[in-house]
């Protein structure tokens, strides 16, 4: 088990190192980056919309449920919702879901290319496949996932407001007042740091498992499951580590 960990970690690092070489044709690499960004970014918008709206709504309802004391002003609910969403839910929950959506897509796409020898075909042409296939996916994820997290943050807070007003817990004005209380910019920096870290984990880990598929079609499925599971565990681990270091 230990040895397998070191084996995977070592070849993961080698893959990352192998990505960097002079592009054979920068225009094609750029095209590939744009393509991947669209795939990752636009392709995941729908699911990010849905989860962030509900996440925000549920956070408001549950916070209100826990704050029963009449001494605490209603606006505090909005403040707590805002901070919870910015600190944890928007970056981490969104990334966990994206690990499923984007991670499995990356792993199965590369896995399929490996099994059907498309990667070999590129390699034979004299193309650095790590650079051409893996690097644009990682860069695309680094570009798009933080944007998705920001969108998730806004939508989450908006969803929280709508849910609060609809349930009659808090008025629109009170919520807006709470949102403006004691906003710390550092929290947003923290959320973005997390989203960049998670984006890198999702894309590079999934690419590693997809790129190194051996065997047949069955292994593609296994690789994408492993990619998602490992990404999720690493995200949670990194979440803890970043919270311990940065907060």
């Amino acid at each position: 088990m230990e040895f397998r960990f070191f084996y995977h970690f070592g070849s993961y690092l080698l893959m990352l190192k192998g990505m960097f070489s002079k592009p054979e044709n920068p225009r094609m690499y750029w095209k590939q980056l744009m393509q991947q960004s669209v795939d990752i970014g636009i392709g995941s918008l729908g699911i990010v919309f849905i989860i962030s709206l509900f996440m925000g709504g549920v956070t408001t309802l549950q916070t209100a449920y826990q704050l029963v004391s009449p001494i605490i002003p209603k606006a505090t609910i909005a403040q707590i919702v805002r901070d919870t969403i910015i600190l944890e839910f928007a970056p981490t929950l969104t990334s966990i879901v994206l690990a499923g959506v984007v991670g499995s897509k990356i792993a199965s796409e590369l896995g399929n290319m490996r099994i059907s020898e498309q990667i070999d075909a590129l390699e034979i042409m004299g193309i650095n496949t790590k650079g051409y296939l893996v690097l644009p996916k990682i860069l695309g994820a680094l570009l798009m996932i933080p944007c998705l997290v920001v969108i998730a943050g806004f939508l989450g807070i908006w969803g929280g407001k709508v849910a609060g007003v609809m349930a009659g817990i808090i008025s629109n004005d009170e919520f807006m007042k709470g949102l403006r209380q004691e906003l710390r910019i550092y929290n947003i920096f923290f959320a973005l740091s997390k989203s960049y870290t998670f984006a890198f984990i999702i894309s590079s880990v999934s690419a590693y498992y997809g790129y190194n598929v051996k065997g047949g079609a069955l292994e593609i499925g296994k690789a994408s499951t492993t990619a998602v599971v490992v990404s999720c565990v690493l995200i949670l681990f990194a979440d803890y580590a970043l919270s311990a270091i940065l907060l």
Binding site: E24, N25, S116, E117, Q118, D120, M125, G126, I127, N128
Partner: protein, 268 residues
């Protein structure tokens, strides 16, 4: 010219190649034949470097490919065209885009010139009509032909084909053989083909290497193969009554030519 020196390769405790040496000359169609599982694909992948051989050397025009750094390997590879056993077309691209891809990556010239070259190649493999289709929408034989078009689009110096005519009807198969032969002569390409198609062997085999259980069992031209005494080779090549008859006819045909002894370098 490609030279192999004592190539060995094993997977786990299974020794697939047990020391293969051979020379493949430019302007000739070099065939690697042998039973299914005899290591043809592994040998081809060792030659192009997709699989690293355990020991032995591969020389491209006297340059040691096995000892090269990545950058030099890349520049040799840009002179290689390869058709894979499963075609290996990029399934997110149309037929035309597949053939265009190497040109986009390495080619020079305007879009119009590239497009012209692509259509030229597709025309050579009789596939002009399928240009806008996706690989999932065409038959296995058509995929093979697209694979060939993609392999030749950059005018390679070395052409590798892993079973170019398995799964093709006899007519298309002959067409492909003829095309490969023509290209080989026209551009003085070093062509290496894995096959177990007897038509290919007889029609275009300038130099034939017969593999048996990871070793080179026999090597010679397609005229020499008619007179080969090697029992394993004969069992493999002339497996059916029909083929044995064909062989005898071909022998008689050759005997009618007075100079047949001179034509064959080494009659056994």
């Amino acid at each position: 010219m490609i030279e192999l020196q004592d190539i060995k390769k094993g997977f786990g405790d299974k020794q697939v190649l047990k020391g293969v040496s051979a020379t493949m000359e430019a302007g000739k169609v070099n065939l690697i034949i042998g039973a299914s599982g005899s290591g043809k694909t592994v040998l081809m992948k060792c030659i192009v470097g997709l699989i690293t051989a355990d020991s032995g050397k591969v020389l491209y025009n006297n340059q040691d490919f096995t000892a090269m750094n990545e950058q030099d390997k890349k520049s040799i590879r840009q002179e290689i065209g390869m058709l894979f056993q499963g075609s290996a077309l990029f399934d997110s691209m149309t037929v035309e885009q597949n053939v265009m891809f190497p040109l986009d990556m390495f080619g020079v010239g305007s879009y119009r010139e590239k497009k012209k070259r692509v259509l030229e190649c597709l025309d050579r493999v009789n596939l002009k009509d399928a240009a806008r289709k996706y690989p999932a929408e065409i038959s296995g034989g058509m995929k093979k032909r697209v694979g060939i078009a993609r392999a030749i689009v950059l005018n390679p110096k070395y052409l590798f084909c892993d079973e170019p005519n398995s799964g093709l009807d006899p007519q298309t198969s002959l067409l492909i053989d003829k095309l490969i032969k023509e290209l080989t002569l026209e551009y003085n390409i070093t062509t290496v083909i894995n096959t177990h198609d007897m038509n290919t062997v007889m029609e275009s085999g300038d130099h034939i290497i017969y593999m048996f259980e990871g070793l080179k069992q026999w090597e010679g031209s397609n005229e020499e193969i008619i007179f080969a005494k090697d029992e394993r080779l004969n069992d493999f090549i002339f497996a059916s009554d029909f083929l044995r008859d064909a062989k005898e006819m071909r022998q008689m045909e050759i005997f009618r030519d007075k100079n047949w002894r001179d034509r064959l370098k080494k009659p056994e």
